[in-house]
Symmetry: C2
């Protein structure tokens, strides 16, 4: 297998675009080569088979969304309160929604995972690791809320992004914004919550 990391990343980014545009069935090595504008046969030198390609696409999605250390540090400045969590969640929803093709590709991967046990196993590990990281990061940073808070934010905001990216007219744009605030408001226990 070839190992040029920049080339590999470019092929994975091309695969993300193909998945989002054509669906899982449209994802062939040839389609990836065409999308990446590289000679036919290149993708097959980088990935052992389709499962390998699909799995690496999953990793690439999370890699591209991982904030750099400076951004992570900046996001932690200021008091650890409800407003802070709300701001972080707005940023997160914007950042993920802006990577539209990546999120749609990940949904295609989830549906493919129902048909491919090995992909399902590896994607489960990746999602679990992401969720554990978020729980750990939230608790260690001293933000308000507990593990359940983080899991419920994960659940509600994921579907909010699905709605926004697949059927954007179900909720108007300003309602999407207030819904993020509403989710944090309700999911966070503690004072300040209107009962």
């Amino acid at each position: 297998m070839r190992q040029n990391p920049a080339r590999r990343a470019a092929l994975l980014d091309a695969a993300i675009e193909v998945l989002a545009r054509e669906g899982a069935r449209g994802l062939t090595f040839r389609a990836v080569d065409t999308e990446a504008k590289v000679p036919n046969g290149t993708a097959s030198n980088y990935f052992t088979n389709r499962d390998d390609l699909l799995t690496q696409v999953g990793h690439r999605f999370y890699e591209r969304l991982t904030p750099d250390p400076g951004m992570l540090a900046a996001s932690m400045e200021g008091p650890r309160d409800r407003d802070h969590v709300t701001r972080l969640m707005h940023d997160l929803v914007e950042r993920i929604s802006d990577f539209r093709s990546g999120y749609l590709a990940l949904l295609e991967l989830r549906l493919e995972a129902t048909r491919r046990p090995e992909l399902r196993r590896l994607l489960t590990e990746r999602v679990r690791a992401d969720l554990d990281f978020n729980v750990d990061n939230h608790l260690r940073s001293g933000m308000p809320g507990d593990e359940t808070t983080v899991v419920l934010l994960y659940l509600a905001l994921n579907w909010l992004i699905v709605e926004r990216l697949t059927l954007p007219d179900v909720f108007p744009a300003d309602r999407i914004h207030t819904l993020v605030t509403d989710v944090v408001e309700r999911v966070l226990p503690g004072p300040g919550r209107p009962d």
Copy 2:
């Protein structure tokens, strides 16, 4: 177009199985005929084109999940309190999860809708109508909570079902159960909520 309602329903049910198993790209009139065990050419007598078939699959999903009047009446018996809402949400999550192929087919439709404006328009109307019905039903029944309660339940429980049906090992089965209770607990305002 042919109009035998039972035959039409059987073809749509077959289309749901094909979508869930093969993905959107696998859905052809021929595949539907084969799945429904009817002569080749039958589906093309019932649906004007692929968009028509996809749209009707969306309607069929909601039709199959609509509770009958007796079930709806039974679900409204007893005090309108937090425990009642929790019980309804557990029932709902079970009912939707049990229709696994239908839910996976609907996810395929949502992804197809990003590529097909007419499907997107019709699916948006259907989802919006379902959400409006749920909000209206909740408020008129005197259950605790407001419109935001219903929308947040919709968001969190949808992704919980996605998780359960696509990557069932991310959360163990008993955690799925407690998460439904947790969602209702946090999303419902009012007394009884541990702060």
